[in-house]
Subunit: 157 residues, 2 copies
DNA sequence: TACAGTCCCATGATATCCCATAAATGCCCA
DNA sequence: TGGGCATTTATGGGATATCATGGGACTGTA
């Protein structure tokens, strides 16, 4: 599975084009669809994004009655309905839809933020505000690279 | 799992490159991604670092609703967002991002400090200050290699 | 005709690759 | 046990490739 790591700030040009960070494109290099999928985010000032495989995985899951609860199913369907496929051009750029740019308040610069299996595209200032707000709290909570999920933590004995 | 032990001081050159200690590279030799992951540390004057496998473990856990509490999940996402992948060059060096160098106040020399499953990269002077500060406390507490975790201690009999 | 979306090529900055060297380490054999 | 040889490391610097970005030309559509 693709893993998107780190933050990269790129310019949005007059035509609405942005370079997808090379590190992110590397994660998608071997896939059949050379591009990304974007959809509106719950975070104000952001766009949600992922690779095409993730979208087809969600889609395929809808055909199995057991994989989603009814509520999850509706949510998945809405996400698919609002998603847009953005193919890479020859230089690894995509063209962001005006509606999403407007919704996220993005202009001039776009901050790609990897969050593991997916990533987001932020208005840099809004992301900075978000980071400033949470950084100290994370530190106080001892958040670090030591934070493994339950299944990966070493056994108690 | 990789285990990083000991401290090594290496030079940071004009291009921002540093050799990762050979002992640390040995721990990563068999992994698919030949490089390390760095992120800002809670310790002022330091950078947190680990191998790529650890990051993918954190990342993959995000897709399972049961492995993290909601707060842990958000924290894990932010850690991934702040992390950077640094591939080894042919000589086992990495290029430290300017932002992290500035944040940790590193210049000239970098001290790699193994702390078990992860390691840190310190400004040597700041590490020395940190050591001096904590040494007396450790002595008072009788800290030594005798300190086994609870699960590994011999039964009370 | 206007407009938006593609495709193509150009360019400067940056990161990566490659080779060279000196020091440190480990190894072998007497 | 110790000396000497061979590897591995850490480091420096130049050459090369990649990346992000800009802009022109072409195409189909309203």
């Amino acid at each position: 599975m693709a893993t998107f790591v780190g933050s990269y700030e790129n310019k949005v040009d007059a035509k609405g084009r942005v370079s997808v960070p090379a590190r992110f494109r590397d994660e998608i290099r071997d896939q059949s669809y050379q591009g990304i999928v974007v959809s509106p985010s719950a975070d104000p000032g952001a766009i949600d994004a992922c690779d095409y495989i993730r979208l087809t995985d969600v889609s395929a899951g809808l055909d199995d009655p057991d994989l989603y609860t009814p509520e999850e199913r509706l949510r998945a369907e809405r996400i698919i309905a609002r998603s847009t496929l953005l193919p890479f051009d020859e230089n690894g750029r995509v063209q962001l839809p005006q509606s999403l740019i407007a919704q996220a308040g993005i202009e001039g610069m776009a901050l790609f933020t990897g969050i593991g299996p997916t990533f987001q595209i932020w208005h840099p200032d809004r992301r900075a505000a978000f980071e400033a707000e949470t950084f100290d709290r994370d530190q106080a909570a001892g958040a670090s690279l030591r934070l493994l999920p339950k299944g990966k933590r070493p056994p108690a004995s």
